[in-house]
């Protein structure tokens, strides 16, 4: 920080302390950029891209909050964190207090501060951003949440556990929803076991979202906390096959079950060439890369992954961005992101789109693959795309992409990654008679996350369709409350 900056920072802090900092002064503080690894450096490593605020940056950013009376940001947060007060506490320099406020509603602050789509949630409603009519001018609530959470990451704030109730709760799936349910039910004194199909816990946070966006060590810390609280964890346990939900309840003595198995079934486009060697679902690509550390192939990891030169990724969501950026990190020279609408409609977080572009991902918008072409060894050689234009708005309110006839053209690639979304895995539907599903295969629940089977609750992506970490956590809280209530009376 330059000397003059340092001086004005000190002045601002002084005024903040005395309570004399005026709103007009607050509004003049520029939004604090998030320090990040340089694009050219980071695309060659898997370390985290965003580095986190320094103390000064955090205080300055927090001082931008005008502490408006109605605090609309709170409405924008799915778990209703008392944002106004926690940001105020950071501006005052009381991070401990900020952490306590966040923890009233949020158990995974370090995660959500990193991966929440803040610009369409809390920050979309921020008065400061609205005043500038620019969401990027909003107070960076997520970054502040991360700042505080990281500061207390190693602090042992293990919550108190109520006396043992002797009741058993099974949590199926160790994603964010499952983690929250396990924590809250354990706190109420129940005997909780998490069952996870993979050999490592954490759900999409460990096998899907890449290390450079969400370090796995953070997720592991949350899991460690649960273990310390006395939650049992059984990995390599596929509910529906190893044991069924019915068996858990009727034979193994679990009085309540939370199903949080996520949206695990990759969608394909059903176009010609999708079976060719070199075509991946994003799930496969990311799992090989993240969970199984294919980026360390040859340095210990056994799981191979294509060594691609030119990669096409189909889709425009977070999953597509993660796949594209992972491909770069695995050594691809050229990565194309092919999306059939325009950039404004892309569902990915703005920050991730921005990061992907900085790293050199080439965005091909208003285009869509028609078929994938192979060579004589059935390896991907190219994709044939069609150009699109935007027509009338469809049911989703977004303008419908319409193909332009005769606009076919080819892009040479050796790898194609399909990242167009995930559906519900049919396994539980096949093996849990009596459990109601909707037509997309998602579990039906009421407002309390209760399913059609007594004692069985569900939440997260298996209920909502592919959603977000914070929404899964929100449902986990509701489900845990219902379960604790149910076990009290039962």
């Amino acid at each position: 920080m330059t000397e003059s900056k340092q001086k004005s920072y000190s002045e601002l802090r002084e005024k903040q302390k005395n309570g004399t900092l005026k709103n007009s002064e607050r509004l003049k503080i520029p939004p604090q950029e998030m320090p990040a690894q340089e694009p050219d450096v980071r695309k060659n490593n898997v370390e985290e891209v965003a580095l986190g605020y320094t103390e000064e940056e955090a205080r300055l950013e927090a001082m931008r909050c005008i502490q408006c009376k109605n605090a609309p940001c709170v409405e924008g947060c799915p778990v209703r964190i008392n944002i106004k007060d926690f940001v105020g506490a950071i501006a005052d320099g009381d991070d401990q207090k900020a952490m306590e406020i966040i923890q009233q509603n949020q158990l995974l602050a370090a995660v959500c501060g990193r991966v929440c789509p803040q610009e369409i949630q809390c920050q979309a409603k921020c008065t400061v951003g609205l005043r500038y009519k620019d969401p990027t001018m909003a107070v960076s609530i997520g970054r502040l949440e991360r700042f505080v959470a990281d500061k207390f990451l190693d602090n042992d704030m293990t919550p108190k556990i109520a006396p043992e109730t002797g009741k058993k709760v099974a949590v199926v799936g160790s994603g964010p929803g499952g983690i929250v349910v396990a924590g809250e039910c354990r706190r109420a004194g129940h005997d909780v076991t998490i069952f996870e199909a993979f050999h490592k816990p954490g759900g999409v946070m460990v096998y899907g979202i890449p290390e450079f966006r969400l370090p796995k060590a953070l997720v592991q810390k949350e899991i460690d906390k649960l273990i310390k609280m006395g939650v049992k964890l059984e990995c390599n346990f596929l509910v529906g096959r190893t044991r069924t939900v019915k068996q858990l309840m009727n034979e193994d003595g679990f009085q309540a079950v939370y199903i949080g198995v996520g949206a695990g079934l990759p969608k394909f486009m059903n176009i010609e060439g999708e079976q060719l060697v070199g075509v991946y679902s994003a799930n496969e690509y990311l799992t090989r890369a993240n969970l199984m550390k294919a980026y360390d192939f040859g340095k210990g990891a056994d799981t191979p992954i294509a060594r691609s030169k030119k990669v096409a990724v189909f889709g425009g969501g977070n999953v597509a961005m993660d796949s594209a950026r992972t491909a770069l990190r695995l050594g691809a020279e050229e990565v194309y992101l092919i999306y059939r609408r325009s950039e404004a409609e892309m569902p990915a977080r703005i920050e991730e789109i921005h990061h992907a572009k900085e790293e050199g991902v080439k965005f091909l918008i208003l285009q869509n693959p028609k078929r994938i072409l192979g060579d004589d060894k059935a390896r991907v050689r190219a994709v044939e795309c069609l150009r699109y234009e935007l027509g009338e708005p469809d049911d989703s309110g977004r303008r419908r992409p319409v193909p332009i006839e005769g606009s076919e053209f080819e892009i040479e690639v050796d790898t194609a990654i399909v990242a167009i979304g995930n559906g519900a895995n049919p396994l539980l539907q096949q093996t849990t008679p009596g459990l109601k599903f909707n037509k997309w295969g998602n579990i039906e629940v009421d407002d309390n996350c209760k399913t059609s089977i007594e004692g069985v609750y569900a939440g997260g992506d298996i209920v909502l369709g592919a959603a977000t970490v914070i929404l899964a956590m929100g449902q986990g809280r509701i489900a845990a409350q219902s379960i604790n209530e149910y076990l009290k009376s039962g």
């Binding site: 199909a197 990995c235 390599n236 096959r241 695990g264 079976q275 060697v277 799992t287 056994d302 992954i305």
Partner: protein
């Protein structure tokens, strides 16, 4: 939870049978199902292996595997008392077993391992079992006694004639199909080309044929799509829709190409491994 190896023996040059502790899987598994095994948590591949047998009382399952690459070579080096880090299962749809009448069971090489529990199940359901088992050469024939015990008829063939009849499995298969009373069902498990040619053979005679596909897998739960195959023009996931399919509908050519996707990288991993641990005789 690590799974202790309680028994190990070598069946042929590169084929090993191990019995490992896995109580939950032992009591839940049915013929035709498989597990996914990881030797260590941090870096291992997850490899699919058929459950060749199980003892629910002892809480153990039997795996029979061929050391072909890095992970299976590493497994071959484990001894009784050592542990496998993780095993998940049972996975996949169990074999559809009922009384069909006469069933011809065709096994090639390591394919005999997954075939055995299926043949056993079919026998117990009252079927007449005609078994044909084959391999490249004498040393690679496995489980002959086990098949003898449950078959009404058994033919052993080798490619080079070093043992049994000198023929490919398709030859006796064709003869069985040409008999007056043709079999009601064929089950063929082995290398992909073998299954392909078995299916071409039985198709001529309209004998419904079940094959068990061994595609490359990662999660084994329907999450990655890596195991996908084309069956009857549709995309199917071997791990959840299979591993058994109507062999007359499988696009074997495409499957074989997909299986070779990682050949070079797999060789590299194996070479690196052998540099460190060269005590097993994988190279010949």
């Amino acid at each position: 939870m690590p799974h202790k190896i309680v028994n190990k023996n070598q069946l042929s040059e590169n084929v090993y049978r191990i019995e490992v502790e896995a109580a939950n899987i032992a009591s839940a598994r049915k013929p035709g199902q498989f597990v996914i095994v990881g030797i260590s948590t941090e870096y291992s591949e997850r490899i699919p292996l058929t459950i060749a047998g199980a003892d629910a009382d002892k809480g153990t399952i039997t795996l029979i595997f061929q050391a072909v690459g890095k992970s299976t070579a590493e497994m071959a080096n484990l001894e009784v008392g050592d542990s496998i880090d993780n095993i998940v299962g049972p996975l996949g749809q169990p074999t559809h077993i009922e009384k069909f009448g006469t069933v011809v069971c065709v096994g090639g090489g390591i394919g005999n391992a997954p075939l055995l529990p299926i043949a056993k199940g079919l026998k117990e359901a009252g079927n007449k079992i005609i078994s044909i088992i084959g391999a490249r050469t004498k040393e690679l024939i496995i489980l002959e006694d086990e098949f003898k015990a449950i078959s009404d008829e058994l033919t052993v063939v080798t490619d080079d004639g070093s043992y049994g009849r000198k023929a490919l499995v398709t030859e006796p298969l064709k003869e069985v199909c040409s008999r007056g009373e043709k079999p009601a069902l064929a089950v063929a498990i082995g290398p992909t080309p073998m299954m392909k040619f078995c299916c071409l053979t039985t198709k001529e005679f309209d004998v419904p044929t079940v094959v068990s596909l061994n595609t490359i897998m990662i999660d084994g739960t329907g999450m990655c799509g890596g195991c996908r195959v084309e069956v009857g023009g549709e995309t199917k996931f071997v791990c959840v829709d299979g591993p058994e399919f109507d062999g007359h509908k499988v696009n074997f050519d495409l499957m074989m190409k997909r299986m070779n996707a990682y050949k070079d990288l797999e060789q590299e991993a194996l070479d690196k491994y052998k540099e460190h641990r060269c005590k097993i005789g994988l190279d010949k």
